[in-house]
């Protein structure tokens, strides 16, 4: 009877451990699927960045050249003055969309390009060089706003990927191996106990036979 009590907990343990490995394995498989899906999404955003980035940077470069020309022709002080007088209330609409639970920005920017009147720097300062510089920066700004949405999305997806990968690694390299070790150990012990039990029974049987 004592023997039976000692064995039972371990068999129970074995069962529990097997269930736990099953659960961990399930978690591992699903998180791997999630990682795969995140990679698909990541590459999608990356593709769009590959198209958007060069265009935005090119336009920015163009804008800077126009601005340098403006400094040279209209004058640095005057240009800076115009930049102070202009209406600077550009609004960008940011909302969130979700990819598998990751919040990712979605931007809408309305009409960025304006004309001199709307820009509002004093009419006495109207100069086509200044207009050019303003217009080119407006165009650059629009492309950069869209690029910002894409880059931030890429970072958000990458962050989630890293988080998921850490969990997958913890399951694969720490938890599951430990559980499997424990199972192996218990099975070995159970085996041992079986054999001990068997030889003990043999001895008892021999003793009983001797008595007769």
């Amino acid at each position: 009877m004592a023997m039976a009590l000692a064995v039972a907990p371990t068999r129970m343990e074995l069962l529990k451990l097997r269930q736990r490995v099953g659960l961990a394995q399930k978690g591992y498989d699903l998180l791997k699927e999630k990682m795969d899906a995140l990679v698909i999404e990541f590459f999608e955003v990356l593709k769009r960045i590959q198209e958007a980035r060069p265009k935005a940077l090119e336009q920015l470069s163009v804008a800077h050249r126009a601005l340098s020309m403006c400094f040279a022709i209209v004058g640095t002080l005057e240009t800076k003055q115009a930049s102070k007088e202009t209406k600077r209330e550009l609004q960008v609409d940011v909302s969130t969309r979700h990819i598998m639970g990751i919040a990712v920005p979605a931007v809408e920017v309305g009409e960025v390009e304006r004309n001199a009147l709307i820009r509002g720097y004093g009419l006495h300062m109207t100069s086509s060089v200044l207009d050019e510089a303003s217009k080119k920066f407006e165009r650059a700004l629009k492309l950069l706003i869209e690029l910002a949405e894409l880059e931030e999305s890429a970072f958000a997806i990458a962050r989630e990927f890293e988080k998921t990968k850490r969990r997958v690694n913890a399951l694969e390299y720490i938890l599951i191996p430990r559980l499997k070790e424990a199972i192996k150990f218990i099975m070995m012990r159970l085996d041992e106990m079986e054999r001990e039990n068997f030889s003990r029974l043999k001895r008892i049987k021999a003793m009983l036979e001797e008595r007769e």
Binding site: L30, D36, I40, G101
Partner: protein, 131 residues
């Protein structure tokens, strides 16, 4: 076992981004701001362009039979790289989007096709984790 609890928690959170109730294409088209609210409270807005694209693929009669978002089911049993689309109308639509032969009530698609689907319908498709 705390690690078990953590795993169960993680699993329960996998599908929180999905809505309790999906919207049919017909309802979405009629709504001024077509969206669903997910179980985690987040709001998913469907882009009108995608809705119109989908409408173009279906006869009027089927439009109230297409639930949105279309679910791309990821199930480890299917093997990595394979996803499943279920539902007669969903299958019909996805087959067309991917340029495949219309299958029966269920369709298995592979990673490159998942990528195409997500590219064309980023707001009207969502991943579903199953086990």
């Amino acid at each position: 076992m705390s690690s078990d609890r953590i795993i169960k928690l993680e699993l329960s959170r996998l599908n929180l981004h999905l809505p309790e109730r999906r919207l049919s294409l017909k309802e979405a088209l009629l709504s001024p701001r077509p969206q669903v609210v997910a179980r985690d409270g987040s709001v998913h807005v469907f882009k009108r362009g995608e809705l119109e694209f989908l409408a173009g693929l279906l006869p009027e009669a089927d439009r109230d039979k297409l639930p949105l978002p279309i679910l791309i089911a990821l199930e480890p049993k299917l093997g990595r790289g394979t996803a499943r689309i279920s539902g007669e109308v969903e299958v019909k639509v996805v087959s067309q989007v991917l340029g495949k032969e219309a299958a029966a009530g269920e369709l298995l698609i592979y990673r490159p096709e998942v990528a195409i689907l997500r590219r064309k319908l980023p707001t009207t498709t969502q991943y579903l984790f199953m086990w």
